[in-house]
């Protein structure tokens, strides 16, 4: 356990500089976007009311009140989220390949450490999950900041105030990364964990068998996806009838998740112990 935390700390520290740059990028771009949206709305309101002779009520009836949705649907907001997702998705692969292809073949030292090799696997998976969750938590904090910036710029008469919970629930793409309820959160990120584990297994297949490993890895990912989707596909697409009740389907899905993760860990353990070459 001690070795696990040492390695985990090492992985986090390695990534921390890039991670902070990513967080700062998201912060700066989103805040700029909110300020632009809010100030743009107020410019329009002031032009219409102070110079155009419209009453405030008329302006609101024509243009609706300002809410955080005016900022959330802009590229200034969605862009950084896309950048964050892409960066972390890239890091799922980079976290391994860096150890082989960077200046020093660091993987040699990692594999020679006096600890079980699966610790390397688990620390990398934990690093990915922690950084993803950290980015999402950071986004939640940013939503609070966006709300406050809007309150500073847009007077109450022109705005609709939403709580963070309402914002997270109202916007579809936000509700994907910030699920509605705690049960949905556990399921979503549990799925995310199984995705990371399956990808890592495919990477280790490639590192073990080179070109054949790429084909094997892709086949493994496909098989895992098919296995995971099978209960719903069989029930709703193939038979078209709900033979399993929702709670039963959920239990089957949990079982498949456990099988998928367990098989991936067993295969990865085997590959790390016997097949991975430096």
């Amino acid at each position: 356990m001690k070795n696990f935390f040492k390695l985990l700390n090492f992985e986090i520290n390695r990534f921390m500089k890039l991670y902070v740059v990513l967080l700062v990028t998201v912060f700066v771009l989103q805040i700029i976007g909110t300020i632009i949206a809010a100030k743009g709305y107020m410019r329009m309101a002031n032009n219409a009311v102070l110079q155009g002779g419209m009453s405030q009520l008329e302006f609101i009836e024509t243009y609706e009140k300002f809410s955080i949705s005016n900022a959330l649907y802009s590229v200034w907001f969605l862009g950084p989220i896309a950048i964050g997702v892409t960066a972390l998705l890239f890091y799922v692969f980079f976290i391994w390949y860096r150890d082989w292809f960077a200046k020093n073949t660091f993987i040699y030292r990692l594999l020679m450490l006096p600890t079980t090799r699966m610790n390397i696997f688990f620390t990398k998976a934990t690093t990915i999950m922690l950084t993803v969750l950290g980015l999402v938590a950071f986004q939640i904090v940013l939503l609070v900041l966006h709300n406050n910036i809007i309150k500073w710029i847009v007077p109450k008469v022109y705005r609709i105030d939403l709580s963070i919970i309402e914002i997270a629930n109202a916007f579809e793409y936000l509700s994907i990364i910030i699920p509605n309820g705690f049960a949905e959160f556990v399921i979503a990120y549990g799925l995310g964990f199984s995705f990371v584990v399956v990808i890592f297994t495919a990477i280790l297949m490639e590192r073990s068998f080179k070109l054949k490993g790429i084909i094997l890895g892709l086949a493994y990912i496909s098989a895992s996806c098919l296995l995971f989707l099978s209960p719903y596909s069989i029930q709703y697409l193939i038979t078209g009838k709900a033979y399993l009740y929702p709670e039963e389907l959920f239990i089957v899905q949990i079982g498949i998740w456990i099988i998928s993760v367990t098989v991936s860990l067993i295969v990865s353990r085997y590959l790390l112990k016997n097949k991975v070459t430096v």
Partner: protein, 413 residues
């Protein structure tokens, strides 16, 4: 410890933010509007079992909810398993699934597809086959559970002449002495002539021999929608009587300009009953119901103990009239003041529930400035058991718009 600082900071930050977020997430529905039954007159017991389903939409959110005497419950507060279904299942279906778990597997979630008495639970449907690219593959699905022996008889049979019909919709099931009868409305639409042919069929099955033994057409109507109005056929299975009967109603709805009455929309609909047929499942007899001529009594919505009940909405009143189909005479009538301005006569069909000779009517509303009436009428005595309103508390503070829709009322088990 210092060298683990970044890791610890990341873990604590993440855990705290998500912890606070999900603790607060549970309180979301307390910020949403809350609805309750507000009695104007009558007996609270009349709405003891009433459940009103609804949806609320604003510029920010859309939520589904149920209201009963205890108050409002939003679907998001239900368990994860309930939420994963994506919608409220009919209460009757949930009861059947709880009580007859194995029998209900793979069955359509339509209460009209089931018949239940003390001895059997019967099912008849024509489920949609996603993979079927030919009408020939559509089938009847029949199943009967003997409650005493717990044995299930089930079978599928091809639908005769299915390819002739564009659409077959089941409307109800009856079962007696190993014979299952399924009522369907079959439609054919001719794109060239723009005519629609609608037939009401009674398909009769011998559940012991697993055979279709009869296919009877009760009514065959060809119609075409026009600028003036449209024809329609409505079906009514009688509510609790010794004899199982089906009422088939053919009407024509005309669009008429408003008489200047501020309450109604620019165009009103006037329904003219063309014919009504009573079909007895046991004897197979068809009998035409002679309807009152030249009397604007509205549209029929229930058939109880040989009495056909009509409803019409005019001058902010709902009038219910009983018509004795055997004696061919109007019986009594009941006038009920309505609170909603937007109720139309046809709302009684879509927003009304008749169960055990009691009408539960909750018309849908347009916005929160005017919420729904709740009307409960004992049809046999034609007396008002309950009149009330759906009251709202906790409306949005910022004055934004809300669209609220009350869907079909249901009764708790």
């Amino acid at each position: 410890m210092k060298k683990y600082g970044k890791l610890i900071a990341l873990v604590i930050f993440t855990a705290v933010i998500f912890g606070v977020f999900y603790v607060n997430a549970k309180t979301l529905t307390s910020t949403l509007p809350q609805f309750s039954f507000h009695k104007l007159e009558g007996n609270d017991q009349a709405v003891e079992s009433l459940v009103v389903n609804g949806d609320i939409f604003s510029s920010i959110y859309g939520e589904s909810f149920q209201i009963d005497q205890e108050g409002t419950k939003y679907r998001r507060d239900k368990s994860f398993i309930h939420r994963s279904v994506g919608y409220y299942r009919p209460i009757e279906i949930e009861r059947l699934q709880n009580e007859y778990r194995n029998f209900m597997r793979g069955k359509e979630e339509d209460p009209n597809a089931f018949f239940e008495n003390d001895d059997v639970l019967a099912y008849g449907s024509t489920p949609y086959d996603f993979w079927s690219f030919s009408f020939d593959n559509f089938t009847f699905e029949i199943a009967v559970l003997d409650k005493h022996t717990n044995k299930t008889t089930s079978f599928s049979l091809p639908i005769p002449n299915r390819k002739d019909f564009w659409y077959i919709e089941p409307y109800g099931v009856k079962f007696k002495d190993d014979t299952l009868s399924m009522v369907t409305m079959n439609s054919i639409y001719d794109e060239l002539s723009e005519e629609e042919n609608t037939q009401v069929h009674i398909y009769t099955f011998d559940t012991k021999k697993k055979q279709l033994i009869n296919d009877e057409v009760i009514i065959d109507l060809t119609s075409r929608n026009s600028e003036v109005g449209y024809s329609s056929i409505d079906l009514m299975l009688n509510d609790k009587t010794d004899e199982d009967q089906l009422i088939v109603l053919h009407s024509f709805t005309s669009y008429m300009e408003s008489s200047g009455n501020e309450i109604v929309d620019e165009y009103t609909e006037v329904v003219e009953m063309k014919e009504a047929i009573k079909y007895n499942f046991e004897t197979g007899e068809k009998e035409e119901i002679v309807l009152p001529k030249d009397e604007d009594i509205g549209i029929p919505f229930a058939f109880v103990d040989n009495t056909l009940y009509f409803a019409k909405v005019a001058n902010k009143n709902l009038t219910i009239i009983g018509y004795d189909s055997d004696g061919k005479k109007l019986k009594n009538n009941l006038d009920i003041p309505l609170i909603n301005k937007y109720v139309s006569t046809s709302d009684i069909i879509y927003q009304g529930l008749v169960k055990d000779s009691v009408l539960y009517f909750v018309p849908s509303s347009i916005d929160y400035d005017e919420l729904g009436s709740i009307i409960v009428v004992d049809l046999k005595s034609l007396t008002l058991s309950y009149s009330g309103q759906i009251a709202i508390s906790n409306p949005p503070e910022n004055g934004e718009w809300l669209d609220i829709y009350f869907n079909n009322p249901e009764l708790k088990n």
